[in-house]
């Protein structure tokens, strides 16, 4: 006598599950869960069709979020309801891969319905497996779009009222009405007979996907014994008695034979060009071209520039960040401003560091450059002890509390009287900053101005002049 395994753990599953130490062979699902039944069907079908190495399984938000611990295929976890949108990106960028979007009734029918219906309408080459159990299982059994009229859930303790919550969402019927989808079927994972029908439907959807016929949807009516507060047997019986009459189990559409396989789209981007443009900043300032040494900054130099919109606050921050970058410092620039183009308040956080910048947010500043009164009131308390405060004394009255180094200069006045344009006040502040900090070279600031106003010679010369005036004003 020889023993032959005829039904066993499908090879679409991992041999051991690493989700939790100790429990390496069973899933996290509750006893009798419909997800487990469906997982087995998927793992078996994908393995049998030889698609394991080309299939991407999208784990939804819900109980089945841990699918990637179980399926021996590429998996990705996406934000709630966004599986069809992500699947579109995956299938368009890798036309040879097969994408399974596994979604529940909250994920597909509620938060992600638009993503889903648009993907269906575009006819993307993907298979959506819609697990419909009529409740939000993971969060404790709340009302879902597919809850039956009169069904009691956590949030409909007197039963779903159609006056208040409307009728259940019939997803398959809606999708079947669209022209693009090739295959729409509703099945149930309850009795062995229904499970076999579900298995056949699932295989059909995967086959159509393999043939690149387009969008397939298979809905699985499944049970959630824990939240339906029934045993697995009673849940199955309840589904067959109540849910199936409302959601008929049948094939709504199967037109795959009329469709030609989708042609793989030709990419409109040249990969090399995209790569070059993404790495462009690296190429502008390669380290061997800069003659200037990397400034000796200990840790991070955290700078806050603040003023009202239109003073060039964000440009000031950008000029500082770029000057640092030109000397091969790591730099971050984070603007914060209101919706107004002029007026309103604006500030930006700049971090310069020899190492990679941790957070671009500046909470405790080493340097504050303030150009109006509200800014200095707001940000001077954030200065660390011994920090540097530079402000425009034309606009600001400030009493030094004595814990920081304060520099004031008539930036607006200098810009207006000496340069002839009050808009250069930020460059005057930049000059002051350069003179006070000293660790970053003057040449870097000038290149930074030149780069920023490239093509506007008049503006460049004016700003460089303002910059030099700012340095002079501090020296006095």
């Amino acid at each position: 006598m020889a023993k032959k395994l005829i039904y066993g753990k499908p090879s679409g599953f991992f041999d051991t599950f690493d989700r939790r130490p100790g429990i390496t062979h069973s899933t996290h699902y509750c006893p009798g869960c419909g997800h487990g039944v469906l997982h087995k069907l998927i793992a078996e079908a994908v393995a049998d069709l030889g698609m394991l190495d080309k299939t991407i399984f999208i784990c939804p938000v819900g109980c089945s979020v841990f699918g990637y611990y179980y399926f021996n295929m590429a998996s990705i976890s996406v934000p709630h309801g966004r599986a069809p949108a992500v699947a579109t990106g995956l299938v368009r960028s890798n036309p040879d891969c097969f994408v399974i979007s596994y979604q529940g009734d909250g994920d597909l029918g509620a938060i992600g319905f638009n993503e889903f219906i648009q993907a269906a309408n575009r006819g993307e080459n993907m298979a959506v497996f819609f697990v419909n159990n009529g409740v939000y299982g993971m969060t404790g059994g709340q009302l879902a779009p597919t809850t039956l009229p009169g069904q009691k859930t956590l949030t409909s303790p007197y039963g779903r009222s159609v006056e208040n919550e409307g009728y259940p969402l019939k997803v398959c019927e809606m999708v079947a009405a669209l022209d693009s989808p090739v295959y729409v079927e509703r099945t149930a994972v309850t009795s062995p007979k229904n499970i076999r029908a579900a298995r056949a439907a699932l295989r059909k959807a995967l086959t159509y996907m393999k043939e690149k016929k387009g969008f397939s949807l298979v809905e699985f009516l499944s049970g959630c014994p824990v939240n339906m507060k029934r045993s697995a047997k009673d849940t199955d019986e309840w589904i067959e008695k109540n849910v199936i009459p409302y959601f008929p189990v049948k094939c709504f559409k199967d037109i795959a034979n009329e469709r030609k396989p989708k042609q793989s789209p030709v990419g409109i981007y040249d990969k090399e060009k995209v790569k070059d443009s993404l790495l462009a900043t690296e190429k502008i300032h390669p380290s061997d071209e800069s003659e200037l040494p990397v400034p000796d900054i200990k840790g991070e130099l955290r700078i806050k520039c603040a003023g009202f919109g239109g003073q060039g606050i964000l440009s000031l921050g950008m000029l500082i960040a770029e000057a640092g970058h030109l000397q091969n410092l790591k730099a971050s620039w984070l603007p914060s401003y209101g919706p107004e183009m002029r007026g309103g308040t604006a500030n930006c956080s700049v971090v310069l560091s020899r190492e990679a910048v941790g957070s671009p947010l500046v909470k405790t500043a080493d340097v504050v450059l303030a150009m109006n009164q509200p800014s200095i009131d707001k940000f001077s308390p954030d200065l660390r002890d011994g920090g540097i405060l530079i402000y425009d004394s034309v606009n600001i009255k400030f009493d030094n509390p004595g814990k920081c180094n304060v520099y004031s200069l008539d930036a607006s006045m200098i810009a207006k009287d000496v340069i002839g344009d009050v808009r250069c006040a930020n460059s005057v502040m930049l000059g002051a900053f350069c003179e006070i900090i000293r660790s970053i070279d003057e040449k870097s600031f000038i290149s930074s101005i030149t780069n920023n106003f490239r093509g506007k010679e008049k503006v460049i010369s004016m700003n460089i002049k303002a910059f030099q005036e700012g340095r002079k004003a501090v020296r006095k």
Partner: protein
């Protein structure tokens, strides 16, 4: 080979069974039962009464656990 000579044995991995009874009530021949003992995770688990399995696979497909049920076919080694 004569079909009648085939013999099937369902094997239940005790510590993967969660005692949901899906296999028990799905079995057309009613040859699976729930044990009165608990496995190491505290669930009652299914067991095969020892004869009568027809190898239909209903218990395998209805079981939510990936590897809790497997079915073996015993064949006369003619080859």
């Amino acid at each position: 080979m004569d079909r009648k000579k085939k013999k099937f044995t369902p094997v239940i991995t005790v510590n993967e069974c969660k005692g949901c009874e899906r296999c028990v009530y799905s079995c057309p021949k009613k040859v699976l039962r729930l044990e009165n003992k608990l496995n190491s995770y505290g669930y009652r688990y299914a067991f095969y009464i020892g004869e009568g399995c027809i190898g239909c696979g209903s218990c395998f497909y209805t079981c939510p656990e990936p590897g809790a049920v497997s079915i073996y076919e015993e064949t006369e080694d003619n080859t």
